[in-house]
Structures are given as C-alpha cells and as structure tokens.
Amino acid sequence: MSKTFTLSKGLDIRLKGEAEKVLREVTALHYAVKPTDLTGVFPRLLVKEGDAVLAGTPLFQDKHHENICFPSPVSGTVAEIKRGDKRALLEIRIEPDGKNGQINFGASDPSKLTKAEITDKLLKSGLWSLIRQRPYGIIANPEHTPKAIHISAFDTAPLAPDLDFVVNGKGDLFQTGLDALAKLTGGKLHLNIGSTTSAKEFLNSRNVEINTFKGAHPAGNVGIQIHHLDPINKGDVVWFAGVQDIITIGHLFKEGVYNPEIIVALAGSSVIKTGYYKTRRGACIYKMVEGNVRDGNQRYISGNVLTGKQIRHDSFIGYYDSLITAIPEGNYHEFLGWALPGLNKLSFSRSFFTWMMPGKKYEADTNLHGGERAFVMTGQFEKVFPMNIYPMQLIKAAIAEDIERMEKLGIYEVEPEDLALCEFIDTSKTEIQTIIRNGLELVRKEMS
C-alpha cells in the first residue's frame, strides 16, 4: 500500500552551482576513514602505520561494540594515523597500491539467509557501520531488532545529488541490499520516494513499502519521514541507511567483497565544472577540485551547506556523504548591509525584496549576516519544521539540559539535520544543530 504525504512546511534553498548530470571517473591519491564522522563511536585502532591492508580490512573498531568495525576502502598501506587534541583519532590514511586487493567474505543470496547470518556477514565485512539508528543518529546496535527500517530515496537539501541519477543501472544491487535489510527488522522496510522520483530502480523495488513524500526540504530527511509514517516513542529504535550504502551492502551479498565504489556530486557556486564523480568511499577530494574551483577564499564542505562538515581542499569525503560543496567564504564587512534593499540576498523572511523573485538562484557565502542575539522572534522555526514538535521549546530544553523536558517535547524524533533550516533562518544566529546534538548526546549518555 503506497501512501502519499504532503508536507506544507519547509524551504527549498535555491543555490547556484547544481551538479551537472555528467559522470566522470576519478582515482584519488589517498583514502582515509575519519572517526570524527561517526557519532558515539570510541575508536580502537586495529592497524598501525606501515601495515598492508586490503579493501575490507578492519582499520578500527568501536570500544563499546567490538564487533562493529570500519573497513579500509582500498588495498595499500596505512600511510598515516592522524591524531588531534588528547590523542583523539582524526584520520587513518591509506595509500593505495593500485592492485585492488579485496577480502572475500563469500557471496550469498540474502533471501536464503537468516537474520543472524546476515548480521554476521555485515559485521565481519565492516559494512554494519553503514546502518544507523534513530534516536541519536548512531550506528545500529546489532543486538536490537528495530521497529522499522527507513530509506529515503530522494534528497531535498540544497545542491544535493539526484539519487535517481546515482542509482541508475544499479537496481539489482539495490534490490539485493534491500533484501538483506528486510530480514533485519520485525517491522516494515520503508522506501520513501519524492513526488518527482522516476527511477525505475526505486519504483520497481520489491520487499519494501513505498511511500511518497511531497514538499520542500526537509521532506527528504529520513527523520521527517519517520515522524509522519511511524513516529519514534521513548524506547523505540528504528534504523535507516542511505541509498548508496544499500548498494554497497548489495555488492557484499552479490560478489562477496567490500566494493566501496560510490558516486559523489561536486556542486556549489565556487565550482567551475560541476558534476558527478565515480570514486571510492573516503577518497581525497583533491583530484576533483584541483583547478576546478575558483580562486580566492573558498569553503569546502563534505555534505550539503546546511549540515555538512568543513574540510580542507586536500581532505576526504565523509563516511556517509556523497556530496562535496564549495562556496565562497564570507569574511568581509558589508557597509550598512542590514539596511540595503537586498536585491541579491538569500532570505526566507520577506524583509528583502528578493522574496518577489521566486525561482532566482543565489550565490550564498558563509557570512553569518549579523551578530548572535537572544531569541527574539517567534513562530519562524515552525514554518520550516514539518513535525508536530515545538522547535523553540525543544531547543530551550536542550540549552537548559533538562532531559525530562527534552523527552517530553520529542527529542527522540529529531536529529540536528532536521532543524538545520531553523538554524539557517534564525534571526538570532543561534547554533541550533550544535545545541540539539549536545542535547541528544546528553540523553543518550543518561539512558545508556
């Protein structure tokens, strides 16, 4: 039974520099796995500098869940283990040997395997780390059985890759991945598509319940979809995974190996030639952006402009990301900027004349456009937050570190990304995503 949900709240931020639908191939010079991409993981190293690894060799494991490990995306040698303050693990960098050596975990048809066998295979190969859970946005606990598993098959974030384009020709792998996931839950496996989704790879999926979501960003966020399909109550656990993560899992069952191939979009107004790149997980972005990004001070983001992480031009794609965005830095003073009519200003409010130009695309930079203030405006967040939750009250409860109140107000249903638009439009320039993440971490520690 396909259900359609129409969300009236939200905002599509129209930025210049959408990725052109051209697929290029790029081989990176280095690869790295960054423990900093992972929420709630205490990494324990399993390799040392100079070790030879294959694609699929575990590089580190989670101290608290030792069976969850994180595989090397290529064969080669461990070139560098980078640590930060208090010896926190930042990067495990692999220099490829070009031989594409892989560990064979054995191919098998997931529909003939039991839940335990599938879990075991995913854990051994390290691909379990691609399955995450809500609440908290951490890696799923293999001992749990989730209420449901959700997959969002469209991304509404600014400049996000078109997943129809990404999945093209990979229907078989995607289906195999779905078959594996379907075995892991006692409930339903939801595949949530957008109203414009047309890829037959999604539409013809079997073993899933297909739901359609209509509306502006964040309609493509899996958290918003979960809220409308089957909201998370206290004590509930649901799992989710990305489309390319499922394709990678599909590879494992089809071919028995960890094939880290992914398609990454390169977008943003600073990029000269945007497009899609076929590369591997954890690839260094240098080869994609070298000579392909405008001069001057630019910001490189792994992920989208709302939720992504800032990286260097020679750093690596994030663990769960499939988008690299480059936009200009905004470190300039603007004379009377708050008073000008603002014919070029990106704003959700109608206090600039740009609201009369729907469809206009903007070249946004990283300027904060104002100073941080106490909360003054009300009723703004509600316009871009399609959940039956009071965002302002939830944020305040998180600031006050009031766990009971956060629970009551629905902290289990949100992830920072769901409130990213609130942060974007906030007049008072509050760091809402950080506040929500801290709130979630506080609750998680209290509950564990």
Partner: protein, 388 residues
C-alpha cells in the same frame, strides 16, 4: 567606504580589552556593526545563513511605524492650530508638529539607549537592537504635551526594571513601551489623563478658542457624550486628538501590512485581537444598558489606541505568546479585555494598554498549556504503541 572601514580597523584595538577605551567596547561594537555587517563567518552547523538579522528585523518594524509617526507629527500641528482657531497651511503645521514630537523621540532614545549601552558593557554583551523599536513606540503612545523629563524617567524605568532586570532584550515579560506608559499613568496620572494634554499647547490654554475641548473620542464616550464622537471619516484618517501615533487608522493599517508581509508581525495576533474586540463589543451590544455599550464594533475599533495596540504592541514577539495556537488565544483575549476595560472603567478611558500588559503576564501560561497539550499527545501515542 574603504576609508571608513580602514579608520574603524585602526581605532578598534583601543576599544578592545586592555585598550584605552575598553569601557566603551560595546558602544564601539554597536556603532561598528551598525555601519558594517560583521565579517564573522559560520563555524558550526549550517554553513550558510539567512541574510536577516535582528537589525534588519527591527528596522522593518520601525519602517512600519513611520506612517503613523509622520501622520502624528502632522496631526500634532493640525490639532494645535485647530485649538487656537488658525489655519496656517502645511508648512507651519508640520513645523509645529516636529517641534513638539522630535524632542520626545530624542529624549526617549537617549534615555533608553543610554541604559542599554551601560548594561551591555556591564554584561559584556553586544548592544541589542530591541530598544530601537521601543524607543520609537514610547513617543507614539505619549500625549503630545507630556513633560520631557517624564519621558526620560519612564524610558529609564522601562528599560531598567522592565527589561534589563530580566536579562535584556528577549527575556522581558512586559512590553517595555507599554510599561513606560503605564509608569507615567500610575506615577503621574494627571499628565496622561484628561482632555487638555492631547493637543499641543492646550495645557497652558493660551489663545484657545471657545468650544474646543480637546477631548479624545474615548473621553467623550466615557463621559456619555456619544454625539460628540467624531465621524467615521475623521476616526479612520485620524483628524482627532489622541496619543501621537494612535490617531490615524489608515497609517496603522499601512504599518500592519508591512509587518504582515515581511512576516515580522504575527498576523494571528492582529487578527485574533480584532476578533476579540469585535466579540466583546457584540456581547455589549446584546446586553447594552448604557449608550457606550451600544456603539458598533467598527466604532470601538476605530476609537483610541485599540488598533495601534493590536498591531504594534500585542505583536511584540518577546512578550506575546510564542506558540501559534497560543497567539490566537493571547490576541483574542487582549482585544476582548481592551474593549471590556475601556467600557467598564470610568477612571481611565483607554483599556488597550492594561489589557495587553495583562495578557503579557498570561502569555507564558497560555504557552504552557499549548505545549502541555502537545506533550500529552506524545505520551498518549507512546502508551497506545505499547498496548498494541
């Protein structure tokens, strides 16, 4: 602009910690950020941010008040010359109005912002833009013959006791501008009630022609002189005595349109306020025991500061209810009580100020119940999920 920027960059170190003028740091910062939007970039969370900030928001509100202010200046002169039986033309009328109104604005800003700057420096905060609006609202709700020192004392009281003691802009419970007016109302009632204070120069009474009373429509209505209430035309355009900014309904409606279109003023509160006022009037009409209670809803809305209060005062996002459902309840009750107090209170002909202050006090309670409803819904959902 480059030269100005370079100059600011050059003198900036003197205002930073350890500099010669470090005690003026937040003052410098206020002027610097006024001239230039800071070069600060995002460092956590969303990498791009909306172009709006509090300065833009507040300047939109001030823009919305400009029509009421301009008309108020003209009307001040117009009422003055009417009272002395002259018709000198546009220039002198505006000239007189400016002479009377500008000092009130200057005093209100100087006194209020002075306190704001001191507190910002003391707390090590940036100066908040909230008072830019309050500082304009205060003159607009004053009678034109108010002594300037009273404006100063009221502004200082409103900022210190009404706002800074609660933690500054965003934390206050009562609308500062209304608090300033309430302060004068309770501390110096003679200067804010009666018939003579609404027209410039009438308090002194020099050269006033016979038959000019200076009474506001509300004053007339409270005195039972229904026949003296001006025509709908005069009420709508505002050729009547009253507080500086409240008389012209067309100017206020213009302001309301700016607030609603920009999304800065809550249309829910304005509409609910109107509905509340109309409901109360209709109830009065149904049970009318005196002439005042028979006035039509339209007349009630057009009289006094009802519309001004609902558009500019009740919509203050900090002191209003914060949830959308709460805004409906809050606005409705504010309008409802405004008319009720106005009709039932013989001592003071206007109820809008007290009604909104009362609802300011109840706004957190309204929000509490709205949010509790959401919470209990979530709890119920969890319980049903466990059962099934």
């Amino acid at each position: 602009m480059k030269a100005l920027r370079n100059y600011l960059d050059r003198i900036k170190p003197q205002f930073e910690k350890g500099g010669r003028f470090e005690k003026l740091q937040s003052t410098f910062d206020a002027f610097e950020t006024f001239l230039f939007v800071p070069d600060k970039t995002t460092h956590a969370g969303s990498h791009i941010r909306d172009a709006i900030d509090l300065k833009r928001t507040m300047s939109m509100v001030i823009l919305a008040m400009v029509p009421a202010l301009l008309f108020g200046i003209w009307n001040t002169g117009y009422q003055h010359y009417l009272s002395i039986g002259q018709e000198p033309g546009f220039g002198p009328i505006v000239g007189y109005g400016l002479l009377k109104v500008l000092p009130i604005i200057v005093v209100s800003y100087a006194a209020g912002l002075g306190v704001e700057f001191i507190f910002a420096q003391y707390r090590g905060h940036e100066v908040n833009e909230g008072y830019l609006v309050s500082g304009m609202l205060i003159p607009l709700v004053m009678p034109v013959d108010i002594p300037l020192w009273m404006v100063a004392v009221a502004s200082i009281f409103a900022v210190t006791i009404g706002k800074e003691t609660f933690g500054g802009t965003g934390m206050n419970i009562f609308n500062p501008a209304l608090l300033a007016r309430a302060f004068i109302f309770f501390a110096y009632p003679a200067k804010i009630t009666g018939d003579t204070i609404w027209t410039g120069g009438l308090t002194k009474g020099e050269g006033v022609i016979d038959g000019f009373s200076g009474a506001t429509p509300l004053g007339n209505a409270a005195a039972g002189a229904m026949d003296k209430i001006p025509s709908m035309y005069d009420l709508f355009f505002g050729f009547i005595p009253g507080s500086i900014g409240e008389t012209s309904k067309i100017a206020i409606i213009l302001g309301a349109i700016i607030l609603i279109v920009t999304g800065i003023g809550s249309w829910r509160i304005i509409l609910a306020g109107l509905l509340g006022g109309i409901s109360m009037t209709l109830i009065f009409n149904a049970f009318a025991v005196n002439d005042y209670m028979t006035l039509s809803p339209l007349t009630q809305i057009m009289m006094g500061s009802f519309l001004f209060g609902m558009v500019f005062m009740a919509t203050d996002p900090v002191t209003a209810a914060q949830t959308n459902r709460g805004k409906w309840i809050y606005g409705f009750l504010a309008g409802f009580f405004a008319i009720m107090i106005r009709v039932f209170n013989p001592a003071y002909p206007e109820g809008t100020m007290l009604a909104i202050l009362l609802m300011n006090a109840f706004a957190p309670l309204i929000d509490h119940y709205v949010v509790e409803a959401n919470i209990s819904k979530r709890l119920k959902r969890a319980v049903t999920a466990v059962k099934s």
